[in-house]
């Protein structure tokens, strides 16, 4: 056995401990965590706001980026894991400090009856939609929230779907009246205003939403004076379904989160589970995952740029950008047998080894990508029409991007050089040389340019890894998490037992929790996992990079033209599968 299944518990490492002790003594306590998890602070609902303000404003803490709110219903945790103090729910705020490059979990334990905490929208505006989601799916009330309504499910829905006592198959009727409808119109129903402005519905079935997004705008001529966006039109219950499947069976579901770059999701998920298990994967698997991640990132950026340019009227680029995608699909198909929904990642390695000619094949794809990118580059990057459409539209300042919880290319286009691959290297990113492109403009053109440059950097990463692609096994030799090779199963008793146990019971992840994060194509893709030691995940919460982007969309487009809203929506690259899960 190469790795041990038990997690070594390390003392909490809170660097600003003394300041915290001084300001909030006794009301905020650090919780012991395994070394692989991020540090955790526990507080109560009464102190939450004070603690949040301290964490945001104190220079020793400086947690300026609100990443996620992961809620947990602990009512079905077995015996010794069950909460001792009669609390049932947990609200876990995941925070990040761009200045100190550190993550933190701020936790509040809540009672079973009427769980409520003060809303943190005033502290981190990004909390807005995350709190609505937690209210919708878990039924935690956020006092003082400006608009605490259902977000992912429709208004006809009864109950809170991710509570453990909710039957995951119970559906509810949705009628047209249950949709957002004229809520916004009613809000601005000022008689003096009636003849000047009109309500414009945009989506959920609209070519430029590239999915199922909806925005209701109030427009004065072509100018947007107010807007309200709504999501949930593709809420297909990823988190609910994952609780009814084993840890490995969740992998196919992750492919369908961001379906433009499925490999990244799967690799991020298995990495999180591997961290919980303490399993290390062989270098060959790490290299293959990194290469495939970067190819997926290229595919994702290509689709984003192509679709965005189609919306701006530049249709030719669509044909150029989709050709390299088709060729990358060929490589993915050779690896795993599927073009889009790959299900290639496995806990402890990959489903099977990469094809024999993987290195040569991957290398042969790069010139095609470069050629087609050069075509797009030549048509767009110095094109005056494109500049007029993209420059100065959809501007997001650095401060706003942080406040709204942006990550990924959208954050980097606003001037913050936060990239998980660089700041918290994982897989093989620490061993390769690449740059993190940023722009300070924060407009649609900046996002386009950042994505173009990121694709070039991805190709640099791929080239470096291909030059020294490791030989050896693709999978870990820890057969408690991954199936032993067939020759061993047929010849060795022990391997046969492992095979049997894995097939019938699945991977047994030790009780505990983790927040694990990787760089998705659109930003930080986080997984908050909770395990109760059975073969099934107790709770999986995804931190979808698109979620805060689309939550901020209504603010970004305010004051602009309707046509610029279309350009902005495309350049933010909202993927509905990931947004709504």
């Amino acid at each position: 056995m190469s790795a041990t299944l038990a997690n070594p518990f390390a003392p909490p490492s809170i660097s600003f401990g003394p300041v915290l002790e001084q300001k909030l003594a006794g009301r905020v306590t650090a919780e012991p965590r395994p070394a692989s998890d991020i540090p955790t602070l526990v507080t109560d609902a009464a102190t939450l706001k004070e603690a949040a303000l301290f964490l945001r404003d104190d220079p020793a803490a400086a947690y300026d980026l609100f990443l996620d709110l992961a809620s947990v219903d602990r009512s079905k945790l077995p015996g010794d894991l069950a909460p001792k103090d009669k609390t049932r729910f947990q609200a876990n705020y995941i925070l990040y400090s761009t200045k100190r490059n550190e993550h933190l979990r701020l936790r509040v334990n809540l009672p079973a009856k009427e769980p409520a905490v003060p809303s943190l929208v005033g502290v981190w505006p990004a909390a807005n939609w995350f709190e609505r989601e937690a209210w919708d799916l878990m039924g935690i009330r956020f006092e003082g929230h400006p608009n605490l309504q259902r977000l992912l499910t429709h208004n006809g829905f009864v109950g809170h779907a991710l509570r453990k006592d909710y039957d995951k198959k119970q559906r509810w009727l949705c009628t047209e009246e249950d949709l957002l409808q004229t809520e916004l119109a009613a809000k601005t129903d000022d008689p003096a205003d009636m003849f000047e402005t009109m309500t414009l519905n945009f989506g959920p079935s609209h070519p430029t939403t590239h999915g199922t997004l909806r925005v209701v705008m109030r427009v004065d001529g072509e100018k947007i004076v107010a807007a309200e966006s709504e999501c949930g039109y593709l809420h297909r219950c990823f988190e609910g379904m994952s609780e009814t499947h084993t840890w490995v069976q969740v992998v196919p579901y992750t492919d369908r989160l961001n379906y433009c770059s499925p490999m990244i999701n799967g690799n991020g998920y298995v990495r999180a589970v591997e961290q919980m298990l303490g399993v290390d994967v062989p270098p060959r698997a790490k290299a293959a995952r990194t290469v495939l991640n970067e190819f997926s990132r290229i595919m994702d950026h290509l689709v984003c740029i192509a679709a965005n340019l189609v919306d701006l009227g530049a249709l030719t680029n669509f044909w150029y950008a989709f050709q390299p995608r088709e060729e990358i699909y060929g490589l993915l198909e050779a690896c795993c047998g599927a073009r889009l929904t790959s299900s290639y990642a496995r806990i402890g390695g990959l489903a099977k080894d990469v094809p024999e000619n993987f290195v040569e094949w991957s290398r042969s794809l790069l010139p095609t990508i470069r050629d087609r990118m050069a075509d797009v580059d030549g048509l767009i990057t110095k094109n005056k029409i494109a500049w007029n459409r993209m420059r100065g539209t959809g501007v997001v300042s650095k401060e706003h991007a942080i406040a709204w919880g942006f990550t990924g290319p959208s954050l980097r286009a606003s001037g913050v050089a936060y990239d998980v691959r660089k700041d918290k290297p994982y897989e093989m990113y620490g061993d390769v040389d690449f740059d993190v492109p940023i722009s300070t403009d924060g407009d649609n053109l900046a996002r386009y340019l950042v994505r173009m440059e990121e694709m070039r950097q991805s190709m640099r990463i791929i080239e470096q890894i291909l030059a020294r692609f490791p030989k050896g096994p693709i999978n870990s030799d820890d057969y408690r998490v991954i199936l032993p090779p067939k020759e061993m199963v047929y010849n060795e008793m022990e391997a046969l037992i492992y095979h049997f146990k894995l097939v019938f019971e699945g991977v047994k992840v030790p009780p505990g929790e983790i927040y694990s994060y990787t760089e998705g194509a659109n930003g930080e893709l986080g997984y908050s996992l909770v395990s109760d030691g059975s073969g099934f995940p107790y709770r999986i919460k995804v931190r979808p990079p698109c979620f805060p982007l689309f939550a901020a969309f209504e603010h970004v487009i305010k004051g602009g033209m309707v046509s610029d809203a279309v350009a902005t929506l495309g350049s933010l690259n909202i993927i509905a599968g990931e947004l709504d899960r």
Partner: protein, 229 residues
């Protein structure tokens, strides 16, 4: 006397033997032939399948070869609804509305297992097959279907159009209850009798009268609408 050569057929119909360059056929067949080769799809793309649909219309697979490349995002300008991706309960009224807005004649392709059956999302917010809401002509399997598979589906639909068969001639499935596993303790809006019968496992669906044009009876249609609410 030498027989004049038979003119090759230009399309479906009976080749003329008189040597003249014309062709005799039924008007229906000519219309169906034209309709099947100039489909205007409206992609109702919601999820992963929409990405594969983009592949189908882009240069590599080139749907133009089958006469179905004029993608229109307005239901009023299209006659083929391709539902590509998962349809969730929140989106169900939208899909129904879009289908109703499409002018006759219209056809529906359910692309992928999510649209066809709900796929592996057997969950609290996912429609278990769009035939709960709209009639479907061709179901395309796959998660997502490969582009070849979707093209095959379109070819199958073309055959179907040429044979004159339409989904709405079938027993309408709009009576399948949209709510599954009703909780008796919660107040339920009134269902029509047909839905309640179906819920209790009795399969007798109400009569769906058809007029000469193959249109559903207006009353039955209204009942169907009521049943959904």
């Amino acid at each position: 006397m030498k027989t004049p050569p038979i003119a090759p057929p230009l399309g479906p119909g009976i080749p003329s033997s008189s040597g003249a360059d014309f062709l005799t056929t039924k008007l229906d067949i000519a219309v169906q032939w034209a309709q099947s080769n100039s489909l205007w799809p409206m992609p109702f793309g919601t999820a992963c399948c929409a990405i594969e649909f983009m592949s189908v219309v882009s240069s590599h697979y080139d749907l133009a070869r089958f006469g179905a490349e004029v993608v229109r995002f307005s239901p009023r300008q299209s006659d083929l609804l391709i539902v590509a991706g998962t349809v969730v309960d929140k989106l169900a009224p939208v899909l129904k509305k879009i289908y109703d807005q499409m002018p006759e004649p219209k056809w529906v392709i359910s692309m992928g297992v999510c649209a066809s059956t709900g796929g592996f999302y057997r969950a609290y917010h996912v429609v278990q097959g769009i035939d709960e809401i709209v009639p479907v002509d061709v179901y395309v399997a796959g998660c997502p279907p490969t582009p070849e598979n979707l093209i095959h589906g379109i070819i199958e639909l073309q055959k179907k159009i040429q044979s004159g068969e339409l989904a709405r001639h079938r027993e309408a499935k709009t009576f399948v209850p949209i709510r599954v596993g009703v909780d008796p303790d919660l107040s339920i809006p009134a269902y029509s009798d047909g839905v309640m019968a179906h819920l209790q496992g009795k399969k007798e669906l109400p009569e769906m009268a058809e007029t000469a044009e193959g249109e559903l009876d207006a009353k039955a249609r209204a009942a169907a609408g009521e049943g959904r609410r």
